[in-house]
Symmetry: C2
Subunit: 387 residues, 2 copies
């Protein structure tokens, strides 16, 4: 096990009706807040009214930034920072998917930077200093942004999608009510489940055999996704399914699975190229890539990890040969995604070979410290097989 | 899944050599500290010198409270509070087992209470107000006190052993170096492993079928204990074993496994009576009771949980009958404890029937909200079978 620092101070209120805790918690951080959200879904499900009622009850004044898109843009961050600076905003409340929360985190990190080069803050050229407190109210189980330190922001001009990280960006409070996810469509439920599973798999496939507990925790999250992703896909208002998926999503990425067993991520780097260039659904891009990524890396030296995965997660017969277990585990993964009607080829989501070279070149820069280090040709081969 | 609040803000530095982070972290909370520890073991392993060097480097002045016994006494708490009050101590640093850390937490909670009835604070008669910051440096994998909110204190006069809990008592920082546990004796390693497993089992056996993720996380911790408890028992300086046990011990009890799936504890209530009256090793008392507790509760209505336990933790053949799986799981548990030479009967640790009535009466007060509620006669029956 590697040395590590673990510090996840987010205070989580979990369960139906917990939104009642919002006002009291926000008030601890300020009386002037920015509320960040996406389209109108938080209004449809009543969450918007719940939030505003909390603000009124605790005499919290608020401004709004709505219309944050999936794969949130730097332009939204710029709009939010402008509001925060002009109105001396003290805290940022985000309600919605990972996009709204990531956008809020980046606004919180940029407001007090003293710089107008906000994309420079995303790329790391401009340092993050003081971060405004962030309070997160997720409405989909997917990104896990409510308990982690990073935010993924897209720049449509430069076709870049980058995920900076800073401890200050970790939400101080997260209010997680599974009933707010009942209206997530089957398609987005499936994509969110694939996103969570990707967060786990990219960390789980590491070379640190001594991080046993971390691997077993990872399997716990994977088994939860497998059981409840499909169930929530079929039964959108199944509370048990939504609750387990939601809590699994937070733990997939808050550090528990990675600390002590860290390596670099793979699929996210490859997928971020796809959604930066084609603006596809992030979780669908991951579902397409994961089986090919697993197949591409498999070899005699690392088959042991696939065997762990196959036996412990998918219940594959341990008496089979190691390679058979590994291949069955990969097929089980692919079949699971298909069972939720996730796309399995890049063609299905409108991607052809024309940008493979540029995307692979960019992705490969971040794939040197992974379970199996991948170069540009590896990435192109994975894209090609996924075509 | 039940509603819950999860908030574990302890900052953990984990791994060999991480003690170097101590001074800088302590300094954030104060420049006058009380160092609490037990016998001389922290001096033998070099930890004492490491701590003092950190204090000197960061110009932290310190007082010491040493000689804290296993099953820490209210008298030690009284001595520590006196030092803190007379010297305007700003933070409490604990180095040692759960006893030293629990004692430090109680000192931290009592110092600013404004009351001289310190036992009243333990019993809850006197409220806890402001709590001094606690920094924990555990030297055994067992109690998990370094990331939790409670402290168990014994009163040898009244034969009481009580575990009050307060969010302020959760350590702000924990420094966990597995090499500090290399000198833990095989006997204490086994007892510590049984303690961790008990923390998990008492929560894992709950009636909330919907808390799936929590149960899988619990199994991850149990599998880690089973693999590495015996290994550390045999190979005291096996870093991988010590590291996994140590990290498992923290997660067994910090809230992750219980939140959303909470019920009352059973074995700890029954064991605290034994060690309050006979001052036995806590983990040994638990190892004796656990198999009998599991056997006593088993019935057709709750066999499903034993089946989960048997298949997922012990790898028992799922084709057997449910009752066979359950019984084999209980036997596997008992055999595992025996393999580490833990005692399996009360007689072995010098306990006879003479205090069964008084102990059972007291324990039963805390066993109403458990997986299977236990009354005085149940507890007596469990003690009797364990004789």
């Amino acid at each position: 096990m590697q040395n590590f620092m673990f510090h996840v101070p987010t205070k989580v209120y979990f369960g139906k009706g917990e939104i009642d805790k919002l006002g009291n918690e926000v008030k601890k951080y300020g009386s002037k807040v920015l509320l960040v959200y996406g389209g109108g879904s938080i209004k449809k499900i009543g969450l918007y009214d719940d939030i505003i009622n909390n603000f009124k009850k605790y005499e919290i004044s608020y401004m709004e930034l709505s219309g944050v898109d999936p794969n949130p843009r730097i332009t939204s961050v710029e709009a939010g920072v402008k509001i925060c600076r002009e109105n001396a905003i003290e805290a940022v409340v985000a309600a919605g998917g990972g996009s709204a929360i990531d956008c809020a985190k980046m606004i919180a990190a940029a407001t007090k930077s003293g710089s107008d080069d906000l994309w420079g803050i995303v790329t790391g050229d401009v340092p993050i200093k003081e971060v405004l407190p962030v309070i997160a109210i997720p409405t989909i189980a997917a990104a896990g942004s409510e308990m982690d330190t990073s935010a993924v922001i897209s720049n449509l001009k430069t076709h870049e999608k980058i995920g900076p990280s800073n401890p200050g960006m970790r939400p101080k409070v997260a209010i997680m009510d599974p009933t707010y996810t009942f209206t997530v469509s089957p398609r987005q439920t499936a994509a969110g489940t694939a996103d969570i599973m990707s967060h786990v798999l990219e960390v789980y496939f590491n070379n640190n055999k001594g991080a046993f507990l971390q691997s077993r925790f990872a399997e716990a999250v994977l088994k939860t996704c497998i059981k409840y992703g499909k169930l929530a896909y079929r039964e959108p208002d199944n509370y048990e399914a939504r609750a387990n998926l939601m809590w699994a999503g937070s733990w997939a990425i808050n550090g528990l699975l990675a600390k002590g067993a860290a390596g670099g991520w793979s699929c996210h780097a490859m997928e971020h190229e796809l959604s930066a260039h084609y603006d596809i659904v992030h979780g669908e891009g991951l579902a397409i890539l994961i089986p090919h990524w697993l197949r591409h890396m498999l070899c005699v030296e690392n088959v042991w990890k696939y065997v762990e995965y196959g036996i412990n997660v998918w219940g594959i017969d341990p008496n089979l040969s190691q390679m058979d277990i590994a291949n069955q585990a990969i097929e089980a993964t692919a079949s699971y995604f298909k069972a939720m009607n996730l796309p399995s080829t890049l063609s299905e989501v409108g991607i052809d070979t024309s940008k493979f070279e540029v995307m692979a070149t960019s992705a490969a820069k971040r794939l040197k410290n992974t379970f199996v280090p991948l170069n540009k040709d590896d990435v192109k081969a994975i894209y090609q097989k996924a075509l």
